[in-house]
Each structure stands twice: as C-alpha cells, then as structure tokens.
C-alpha cells in the first residue's frame, strides 16, 4: 500500500510505529498534488513548503512524545476558512488577494492537534453552488469517470468540490468543508466519501467566511467514517468568539463508530421517495435499510410532511442572510476595489466586478425578500415554514433514533449540465437542505455505484447533539457496503 492510499487511522498508526516519517507521508501527498492538481483544479492555493515545515514539526513531536491526535496528517482546507498568512479567497475575485491576519477557530483546532495543511481547496463562489462551477478560479474535475466515457468531465458537487476531489484523488487524507444546504454531504456522495455536517453550534464559525449564518456548518470529509470522526473530534468544541457556539462536551466520536445499531430505531421518511427518483437510487436505499435491519436495527416508516417546502424556504432564508453578510465587500476595508467618482459608484463598480453571476443573483433575491413591503410575504413566512420543518424533525425523533435517506437524487453530472436554469441546480440539494433548516447532524456515507460506475451516498440524519448515533449508523453501512472501488484519477494514476 502506498502512503497516499492509507486512511488517517492507518497513517497515524504507521507514524507511531515509525514505519515512515511525517515528512515522507506529507511529501507523498505534495507530489500527488503537483501531479494531479493542474488537471483537477482541486486547490486554489497550494502551500507545499509550509506543509513540509509542519510535517517536520510533527516528526519532532512524534519523537518527543508530544504529538497530537492528527500529527503529520496532510489535509485540504476549504478556501472559506481564514488561515493566518495564507491567501483566503472564498472562490471569489472580490477576495482575490485577501490574506487573513488571523486563523479560524476550526483550523486552529486542527493545527493544535498536529494536522498539516497542504493548501486551500476550491469551492463555489462564497459556497453558493452545487457543482463548483461558480468558482472564480475555475471548475474542479471529479476524479471519478463514467464507465466507458472517459472523455466526459464530471463535477465533484459543491460547494466544497475541491475538498471532495482532493480527498477522493488521494491528494489529501481528509479535508474541511462547510455545509449550508448540502455543501459537504452532496460532494461527499458524488465523490464516494464520508462527509459529516455536525449539529449547528458544534463547530465554531469564527473565521469562516459567512454565507448564511444560521445555516452555515463547518464539517469534515474523509475516506472512512472513522477518519471523519477523528477530524470532527479535533474541529468541534465551544468557542466564546462565536455567539452561536454551544458549550457542551464533545463526545468520543471514534468510539461511537464502534457502537453498532442493535436495538436502534431507524426512520424512513416517506416524503424522500421523490417522484422520478432513479430506480438505482431507490434500490440502494432499500439495500441500506436491509443492512441496518441485519445488524439489529428496527426500521420504521415516518413522515416529515414539510420536506417538500425545504428548498423553497432555503432559497429565501439563505439569500436574505447572504445579502446582509456580503454587504461588507465594499472595496474599502479589504478585497478588490474598482474606482468610482463617488462612494456609491465605488461600491457599485466594486461589487459588479468582484461578484460572479450566481452571487449577484442571490444578493438581489435576498435584498428583494428583505425589502419594505415584501418582508412579511417572503422572509417572515419562510421563517415560519422553517419552524414547521424543525417540528417535523422533533416529532419523528420522539419515535426513532436516526433517519436514513439517499443523499442526492442522482450521481455526479457533467460540467455544463444543469447550468441553464438556476432552479434545476438547486434541486440537487432537495434531500440535504432540511437538516440545515433544523440544525440537526447529518452525514453521507458511500454505499454503492450507479449503472455508470459512479458513487452514490446514503444520508444518516440524527437528533441534535447526537453525532454519535449518526457515526454508529454510518459505520454499519460502510462495513456492509464494503465500498472499495477507486476513482479513475488518483495519486499515481494521472490519466
């Protein structure tokens, strides 16, 4: 097994046993990035010198017994997390040359535990998208290929598309992501990875470029459920600098992965059986339920009646919050500036040149639904529907311990597909958005392949603060699925 093929848990054991050094481990990933990134475009900024310096530090810590739980593990960091002294773009021209003078809490936690950062991964501009096609730094290629169609360039999903592609291609062992409507779980599903969005308030948003503050959740990508648990363990925790961070102890997530599902009640929400769902997605869902039943869980039919309104609610609440959050990009204090004859013209020119089309659309929608005369009809009504969606979850979680659904209605699609109509792209997140609305933890776990050989994911949704059950259920699915197919493009296999 080459170093880039190891899981985080395996790599950590190898480092402890001195089978290889952190510098060797990181060098293998730096080399993979150099070979693959020109094609995949998974990273906007690579920092190999910094990574190798961090690796040397990890080797020293491993030598003197002070190594943290992620010492020497090479990660990709979504370019939405501010990293001190390393350019942070949010995938936008308006932050083209922004170098944060501070470190986000989540990345500081990872550094505290010894992690090594390979660089900053590509994303949809300001995390607004489901394909990585809206990035100002170009699209990302999904390392997976349709069987018999190596010419088609597929999207990795989004918004955390670069993170997902980097981990799938074995450039990084894990990566951070953020999930506002599915931006971790959807790319995880499309790239054959485990991706966890924890409970709202579990991971600090401090230092994460804000999109929709009440919906933004930092989380993690990895190639195994246990690896994603190790990353979340490090990232999570109370932060007084985020007013919505919650002061609760972080459980032992790796231990939770080994709990099993015997005696658990797993709900199957009937509203997720969408019209026109491909038969292979439905079949995989039933297969997942069979796996859980065989492992001792009880399967229960449940109803989340307001599911169908989740996306429309999202496309009022998220743009409203975005229009407010993105008001700060005015060309005065940081970021790109376009000259103007007066202050208003400077603002208008700067924002016209600095933002891409999808970001502008969402700011305009958000401005409209918050404007005088329309606030009650759109924004206030959406907030009330959000309450009904939360009540749906509260009611089913009185009956069941977790829910199992497909993560997405389809496997990865090609670059350029779903681009003509914004609403067609939004529909990719139909199964993932409700968990953001309610703030409950949810993860995607790879469960099988579609007829074209592309990965499909199943989504596990849990009660607030109960990531442990989510990990336990996901681990049973991972073990049963035995997902071992590799993407066409990966470290050592460039074409």
């Amino acid at each position: 097994m080459t170093l880039t093929g190891l899981s985080i848990a395996e790599a950590r054991a190898g480092l402890d046993a001195r089978d290889f050094s952190a510098v060797e481990l990181v060098q293998a990933h730096v080399d993979a990035a150099a070979a693959l990134n020109p094609r995949l475009n998974a990273f906007i900024t690579l920092t190999p010198e910094l990574a190798l310096a961090q690796a040397a530090g990890a080797d020293a810590a491993l030598g003197d017994g002070s190594a943290g739980p992620l010492a020497g593990i090479p990660l990709g960091i979504k370019d939405l997390f501010c990293t001190k002294g390393v350019r942070t773009t949010a995938g936008s021209r308006i932050l083209d040359d922004f170098v944060p003078p501070y470190e986000s809490t989540v990345t500081a936690n990872l550094l505290r535990d010894g992690a090594v950062f390979l660089g900053k991964t590509n994303l949809d501009e300001f995390a607004m998208g489901s394909s990585n096609m809206t990035s100002a730094f170009g699209p990302v290629e999904n390392p997976w290929k349709r069987a018999g169609d190596p010419g088609a360039v597929l999207v990795p999903g989004g918004s955390s598309g670069g993170s997902a592609a980097a981990v799938a291609a074995r450039i990084a062992m894990g990566a951070t992501g953020t999930d506002t409507g599915g931006s971790i779980r959807q790319p995880a599903a499309l790239c054959g990875l485990a991706g966890i969005k924890p409970t709202y308030g579990r991971c600090s948003r401090w230092g994460v470029v804000a999109f929709a503050s009440s919906l933004d959740h930092p989380g993690a990508f990895a190639r195994t459920v246990q690896d994603s648990a190790m990353l979340l363990q490090s990232m999570a925790g109370f932060d007084p600098r985020d007013s919505t961070s919650v002061d609760r102890p972080v459980p032992d997530y790796a231990a939770a992965c080994r709990r099993g599902v015997r005696g658990l009640r797993i709900g199957v929400p009937r509203e997720y059986r969408a019209d026109g769902m491909p038969e292979e997605v439905d079949r995989l869902w039933r297969q997942g339920l069979d796996w859980l039943r065989a492992a001792g869980a009880t399967i229960v039919d449940v109803s989340l009646p307001h599911t169908r309104y989740g996306l429309a609610t999202y496309y009022i609440v998220a743009p409203a919050e975005a229009s407010s959050n993105l008001a700060r990009y005015d060309g005065v204090r940081f970021g790109h500036r376009e000259p103007g004859h007066d202050l208003t013209e400077l603002y208008e020119h700067t924002r016209a040149a600095g933002f891409g089309e999808e970001v502008k659309r969402r700011i305009l929608i958000g401005t409209y639904v918050l404007s005088a005369g329309y606030y009650d009809a759109y924004y206030l009504r959406a907030q009330k529907v959000r309450t009904l969606i939360l009540h749906d979850f509260d009611q089913v979680f009185a009956e069941v311990d977790a829910l199992l659904t497909p993560t997405t209605p389809n496997a990865a699609f090609a670059q350029g597909e779903k681009m003509d109509d914004p609403v067609a792209m939004y529909l990719n997140d139909v199964f993932t958005v409700p968990a953001n609305m309610a703030g409950v933890p949810a993860m995607s776990v790879p469960a099988g392949l579609d007829g074209q050989g592309l990965p499909l994911g199943l989504q596990v949704i849990g009660r607030s603060w109960d990531e442990e059950t989510v990990f336990a259920v996901a681990q049973v699915i991972e073990d049963a699925a035995g997902f071992s197919v590799l993407p066409a493009l990966r470290a050592g296999v460039v074409r």
């Binding site: 007013s243 919505t244 401005t367 009504r381």
Partner: protein, 95 residues
C-alpha cells in the same frame, strides 16, 4: 408577484451592485424564475406559527461589555485596498 425592470434596478441600487442596462432583462427573467418557484410557500398554513430565526435552538449567549482586543491597526489595515496612515481612504464625500 413578479419583478418589472424598474424593480430590478431598484433592488440592484439597494444592494449596491452596478447593473448594466443591457443586463436588466436577463436578470429580470432569472429572478422571476426563482421567485415564481419559491411562491409555493404561499400554500403552507403558517397561522399561529412562530418564526425560527436561528439555527441554534438556544438563546444567544451574552458576554461582558468589555474590550477584548485592540492595538493591532496594522493587522486590521493589512488588506486595505488603499490607506493613508492608519486610515482607509474613499473618494471625497464632502465638498
């Protein structure tokens, strides 16, 4: 509800995004497509339902009203597109 060109220009003005006259019709079509789709929420009965404002189902925490940071002007200004001393610059506002 459907946006007319004047409303598109008005919300662009409110959002401080310059929109070229030639882009108004395209934006009008795109925005009306999205608004038409989210119109489906009008069929939900929300009588007596309280709005949910935040993701965390908890009261926001308060902290002491005390200075916790400061004296880092150079860090704060390090990304300024233009500065004079410890000040940001903007086009002349007062004649």
């Amino acid at each position: 509800m459907s946006l007319d060109p004047a409303t598109v220009r008005r919300i662009a003005k409110l959002a401080r995004i310059g929109v070229a006259e030639g882009d108004v019709a395209r934006l009008q079509g795109e925005l009306n497509g999205i608004l038409g789709w989210i119109e489906q929420l009008s069929e939900v009965n929300v009588d007596g339902v309280e709005p949910l404002t935040g993701g965390a189902q908890i009261a926001l925490r308060l902290r002491a009203d005390a200075v916790t940071d400061g004296h880092i002007a150079d860090a704060v200004l390090s990304n300024a597109p233009d500065r004079v001393g410890d000040f940001y610059t903007v086009p002349k506002v007062v004649e």
